[in-house]
Symmetry: C2
Subunit: 249 residues, 2 copies
DNA sequence: TGTTAGATTAGGTATGACCGAAAGCACGTT
DNA sequence: AACGTGCTTTCGGTCATACCTAATCTAACA
């Protein structure tokens, strides 16, 4: 019998048809080939163009939809409309990581300490009047001490995200959006926010806002760093107290 | 004729069946209900359990797959296996944002200046011996001045990601992973990396590595800040020169 | 005791049908 | 002329069924 031919083949990869189609459309969208809001061909049209089944085409569109690259509308003159990803898409994937990996609140606060002072610095450099309005608005609704905890925390998130927006850096904005929301939900049910904490927080926010308004990056960094650090310390302190109160579960 | 009743209805939302199923399974996965690697029911099994068609079930699974929550294997004893998202999932969505929004290199470098010094600080605090090995390895392969530009840049990415890993903060790691890769691809075809830049970069990396090894957070921050800042300045400088060289086009 | 050729079980794809939502149109009323 | 009303059309959403292909298991065979 003939000996085995020493033919070597590299492992053959058989990509899924829907992935291939999704990748091709994704590249063309990212290349900027279609203006934002323009309509892709209808599903049935794509079927005839690609010789694929409708199920395959639909899965490809679903992939793009999850990735935030298209928005799908139903009804007549519906279909897939090109959309460029925004901070929300980053925020949602960060959210999945945080929840899936059970990232602890302490790690979230550490991350905020790492990122947000830099946001404040950039905000002080690049802020517009509209950015200032947004920050003032958040400060106002936070100064309503009679509001519910959720309202307070929502205004808190708005302010922090507002700082990120004022940095005019979309990456940082998306990241801070996710981080702020995650901290919000972790904080919402822990009950260590009392009137004193509220007033301290509001004072700190106003102080940072003033630095941003005055376009003083150094002060903005310093004050933001102090704010997020002391907030983190307060949370850790309460965490420890809670652990003592509830030794096991 | 009777006057219109002042009945007000809020807009009714009709969620898609596949979204509902995906959301339910996602929540259960994120809640930690299934250990990592465990198998979800097969498609046909889900069909009987949910009274949905297989196409719907498949779309739901596809959503979870894109979100990095399950990995799907074909063949006998295949199916959907639970997976917890890692830095890659964040990296890919950040990548989509960068490319879809045409984020300029200058903005990427600005973001790195904002985030990476803090990474270095945390790395100096929490680094393990394995982290140091990873950094040393990257430095070694970068010291090979005869290597190609791609090899140099890859080692560069490895080092920067290595710092993020050493921070032991999964959020920052995922973010820096995406950022480093994006800077890599933007830098790969610009040709402003010469021998001098290589040596300067290597020196800076070694200097930061030393601070991390010595668990000196302040030095790590300072040196990293200086490194990424001077790198950014060098890039901007070359950008301007390039614009002059190529006035239109 | 390996090797290998089926059998089995999973996902991947293709058809074809029908439902429901939304935009457009035409008719009819005011 | 202006405005509802309802029909028609054209989309995506869902379902059912069939068949293909990949990966594994199993059992016969050399």
């Amino acid at each position: 019998m003939a000996t085995r031919q020493p033919v070597r083949l590299s492992p053959v990869r058989v990509p899924k048809a829907s992935d291939v189609l999704a990748t091709e459309m994704r590249e063309r969208i990212l290349r900027g080939e279609f203006p934002e809001g323009s309509a892709l061909p209808t599903e049935r049209e794509l079927v005839t163009q690609t010789d694929m089944s409708r199920a395959t085409v639909r899965e490809a569109l679903r992939i793009l939809e999850v990735q935030g690259l298209v928005r799908i509308k139903t009804g007549r003159s519906g279909g897939a409309f090109v959309q460029h990803p925004d901070g929300e898409s980053i925020a949602s994937s960060v959210d999945l990581l945080i929840r899936g990996r059970q990232i602890r609140l302490a790690a979230l606060l550490e991350t905020r300490e790492a990122v947000e002072p830099a946001c404040a610095q950039l905000a002080a450099k690049y802020r517009t009047d509209a950015d200032l309005d947004r920050l003032d608005l958040a400060n106002e609704s936070m100064s309503d001490t009679s509001g519910s905890l959720s309202d307070f925390l929502q205004a808190n998130v708005d302010w922090h995200v507002g700082v990120a927006i004022a940095s005019h850096n979309e990456l940082l904005t998306g990241f801070m959006l996710a981080l702020s929301r995650a901290i919000y939900t972790s904080t919402n049910n822990r009950g260590f926010i009392n009137t004193e904490v509220r007033q301290t927080t509001l004072r700190a926010h106003r102080s940072v806002t003033t630095a941003i308004r005055g376009q003083d990056p150094d002060a903005a960094v310093r004050r933001m760093k102090r704010h997020v650090h002391s907030y983190a310390e307060a949370v850790v302190e309460v965490e420890e107290r809670t652990e003592i109160d509830l030794p096991d579960r």
